[in-house]
């Protein structure tokens, strides 16, 4: 069979399998993003806090998850959770442990990594906003939360967007690592196709191409978001 035959949809070709992997990859990245952003935001708040213990706790977190290889974090979360759940279920008197889902484990591991990097992006964005902005909010009688939501956050997002865009691309690429714990993403589906058909170069090229497509799509979306975030800027 020729390359086109291998890439057909249906029972003979592999395109439908790989397309399913594409959906899994995108879903995983999209599911991790909000969790990672939220955790990263709160970590950044902790890092700029006046409370020393809070800063230190956040720094420990960042040091650990930025220092460990992503692959190791994934294995540790996957096997660690499995062992922890088994111990817990034995302690609770259940006979059988619960099999942990590769998707969930991957999501947790990637959220740890993403949030530790995102916290640094948010922190530097916070530092770029002068204290007068907060003071203006308080002088207007806004509460701390209102000041954060209506005055600081819109500026923060604008400053942090390019950095977060890079982190999103890194997240997309890191999802490929989840295939090693058995998630049927692009990499794994391409690997299976390569093993069955012996056309490894073809299928791994397709995988690379799909990641490039995701990167290009992301840059389009980011350009739009950035334009939307900057619409209030004078002279933009």
């Amino acid at each position: 069979m020729d390359a086109l035959g291998y890439l057909a949809f249906g029972d003979t070709g592999w395109s439908d399998e790989i397309a399913r992997g594409f959906v899994v990859t995108t879903t995983l990245a999209l599911a991790t993003l909000p969790i990672g952003l939220l955790m990263g935001f709160f970590l950044a708040l902790a890092k700029k806090s006046e409370e020393e213990t809070l800063r230190l706790a956040a720094d420990v977190y960042t040091t650990i998850f930025r220092g460990l290889p992503e692959l190791l974090t994934i294995f540790m979360v996957y096997f660690g959770l499995q062992i922890a759940i088994r111990q817990a279920s034995i302690a609770l008197g259940f006979e059988q442990g619960i099999e942990i889902n590769a998707f969930i484990a991957g999501m947790i591991a990637l959220a740890f990594v993403f949030s530790s990097y995102a916290s640094e992006v948010f922190l530097s964005a916070f530092r770029a906003i002068p204290a007068g902005q907060y003071e203006a909010g308080y002088a207007l009688g806004l509460t701390r939360w209102q000041t954060m939501r209506t005055i600081i956050a819109p500026q923060l997002i604008r400053i942090a967007l390019p950095g977060l865009g890079n982190l999103w691309l890194i997240l997309l690429k890191d999802t490929a690592l989840i295939s090693v714990i058995g998630l049927s993403d692009i990499m794994r589906q391409a690997g299976i196709a390569a093993r069955v058909t012996k056309e490894a170069f073809l299928f791994f090229s397709v995988a690379c191409l799909l990641y490039l497509v995701l990167a290009i799509l992301s840059s389009f979306v980011f350009a739009r978001i950035e334009r939307a975030a900057k619409r209030a800027e004078v002279g933009a």
Binding site: G67, P69, E70, L71, D174, M187, A200, C208, A215
Partner: protein, 277 residues
């Protein structure tokens, strides 16, 4: 009109410290620190409790060997990548459309796809061209997982380093080139003696991050049967099903990365001491 007080105020005691209240932030901070300290103590207690001299004697040499392989792999690919990144960066900055287009495509591909996909493409994918590679006498190279990893990492880091280099060179003002011309230096001399030293200061931090990223990224060679630190860890885990194998790997990686970070900070502070006020 001047007013001079006849008597000075009696010395006053220092105002009392404002008692810090237990705010939400302070409670959260203490709770989180308690968590980390407890986790740390538990970890040490566990690793000490599980200390088994047979285990250490059996696996420590393997871990160290794995560490050596990781560092060799990263070291060689960083150096080769640096050599390759120089022409790439210049091609990228060139006014020749074909050259800059090629460099742009190269950089876009290697930065836009996962390193693991590139590694698989080379290690498994080049097997599809076995006959062709044998014909040109290169098959012995691509047959070996270690060579493939080295090849993939070199190409990958070259793309990242080319971007770092380009950014750094472009950050040096045009007047520096003109000053070199005015002094009668050749372009090469200007580049080597004036531009590069200034660009390197800008590039130092990104270079450091790139080395750290490569050390972390190199863990994926474990999947293509190279026994680096991660590979040895996986082998040890598959034999013992003991989670401490992973914890030891984490300790090793954290120590390398943190040491590197501290060393790079020192170097940067040393090189930029003329910029500090």
């Amino acid at each position: 009109m001047t007013v001079i007080r006849e008597t000075l105020l009696a010395p006053q005691p220092a105002p009392p410290d404002i008692a810090r209240s237990w705010s939400a932030a302070r409670i959260t901070g203490h709770a989180l620190m308690t968590f980390w300290v407890t986790a740390g103590v538990f970890l040490v207690w566990w690793l000490v409790g599980a200390w088994d001299i047979a285990f250490v004697e059996r696996y420590l040499p393997r871990y160290l060997n794995g560490l050596r392989i990781t560092l060799t792999l990263v070291g060689i690919s960083i150096v080769l990548g640096a050599a390759l990144s120089l022409p790439l960066a210049f091609m990228r900055m060139s006014t020749n459309r074909a050259l800059s287009g090629f460099a742009y495509g190269y950089v876009y591909f290697f930065r836009g796809t996962p390193l693991i996909a590139q590694l698989f493409l080379i290690y498994y994918g080049f097997g599809s061209f076995r006959a062709e590679l044998e014909a040109v006498g290169l098959w012995w190279f691509f047959r070996d997982a270690w060579n493939c990893a080295l090849f993939a990492f070199t190409l990958n880091t070259a793309a990242y380093q080319a971007e770092i280099l380009r950014g750094a060179i472009e950050s040096v003002k045009k007047g520096q080139w003109e000053a070199g011309d005015a002094l009668g230096l050749t372009r090469l001399q200007t580049f080597r003696k004036i531009i590069l030293p200034q660009a390197m200061i800008v590039a130092l931090r990104p270079y450091g991050n790139e080395i750290i990223l490569m050390i972390k990224g190199s863990a994926i060679v474990a999947i293509v049967t190279v026994f680096d630190l991660m590979g040895e860890t996986r082998r040890a885990f598959s034999r013992t099903f003991d989670f401490q194998t992973y914890l030891w790997a984490a300790v090793f990686y954290l120590v390398i990365v943190e040491t590197l970070r501290i060393v790079l900070d020192r170097i940067e502070r040393r090189l930029t001491r003329h910029l500090l006020r």
